[in-house]
């Protein structure tokens, strides 16, 4: 699994997660009565959790650690899944410290997409890089071609302002917006 240093998760990284870690997770889940679809769902959630932890610099950037981490997250996710299904399953204490999984988000509503779309593609990419990938201003400046960190940061706030104003307008138009 290569380092991806808080950049967008590329498909090579995701593929490497599957090829290196999924077989072990699949065996673990199959031995506990899970199906292939359940293993896939749990693994998808686990990659999201791992990615968010990496973006927040909460995972030591060591190859073996990362794979072990992902396997640990997957066991934890499987245990949570079983609890939600009222199943019982044994899970090691080591997994107890993991944060709650990224809950599977509800699909974005049309209104949400419309709102985010109103900021424009470039703004959305910039905001995604800053707020989901947790890119530093220096890296964002270099990736998006800004003169420096400050320019990238100012642009980030301009994009944020557009979205914030859109949220305010939508809230006025629809009292139930974002409910």
């Amino acid at each position: 699994m290569h380092e991806h240093e808080n950049t967008s998760p590329d498909s090579a990284w995701i593929s490497s997660c599957y090829r290196n870690v999924f077989p072990g997770v699949a065996r673990y889940i199959s031995r506990r009565g899970g199906t292939r679809d359940e293993a896939c769902d749990v693994f998808q959630d686990s990659i999201v959790v791992l990615y968010e932890m990496k973006a927040a610099n909460k995972v030591p950037g060591n190859l073996k650690n990362e794979q072990a981490y992902l396997a640990g997250i997957a066991k934890h996710q499987w245990s949570r899944y079983c609890e939600s299904k009222n199943k019982t399953t044994a899970v090691g204490d080591a997994d107890a410290q993991l944060p709650d999984a990224a809950p599977t988000p509800e699909p974005a509503t049309a209104r949400l997409l419309q709102l985010l779309g109103s900021a424009g593609q470039r703004c959305m990419e910039l905001l995604h890089a800053f707020y989901y990938d947790n890119l530093s201003p220096a890296k964002a400046a270099s990736r998006f071609g800004y003169a420096g960190e400050r320019s990238a940061t100012v642009q980030k706030y301009k994009c944020l302002e557009k979205l914030r104003n859109e949220v305010k307008t939508k809230k006025l138009e629809h009292a139930d917006f974002l409910d």
Binding site: S11, R19, A26, R27, Q44, H128, Y132, D133
Partner: protein
């Protein structure tokens, strides 16, 4: 940077708990005195939530695409065979 952007920057730091104590007090006082600022703060918080949701959905789509390739492309037949051993019924 224009004033409205400085307010957004300050609100971001306030929400992250990253404002120095003196600035935090000033900002809290402004929130009480300026209802518009309070509204903006709430909307800004909602934008962060939306961005996170959007980010997760985008990542999940990428994961599903990769998973589909691994389970269909001839190049990954060995990988599939390994997984099939654990789930012979599928």
């Amino acid at each position: 940077m224009r004033t409205s952007l400085i307010d957004i920057e300050t609100a971001e730091q306030y929400l992250a708990g990253a404002l120095p104590p003196a600035q935090q007090l000033v900002f809290q006082a402004r929130l009480l005195a300026e209802p518009g600022l309070q509204e903006q703060l709430i909307a800004q918080q909602e934008v962060y939530t939306l961005l996170k949701q959007h980010g997760r959905e985008k990542l999940r789509r990428e994961i599903v695409t990769v998973q589909h390739l691994l389970f269909t492309k001839p190049a990954f037949a060995k990988f599939r065979e390994r997984i099939r051993r654990y789930f012979p019924e599928t």
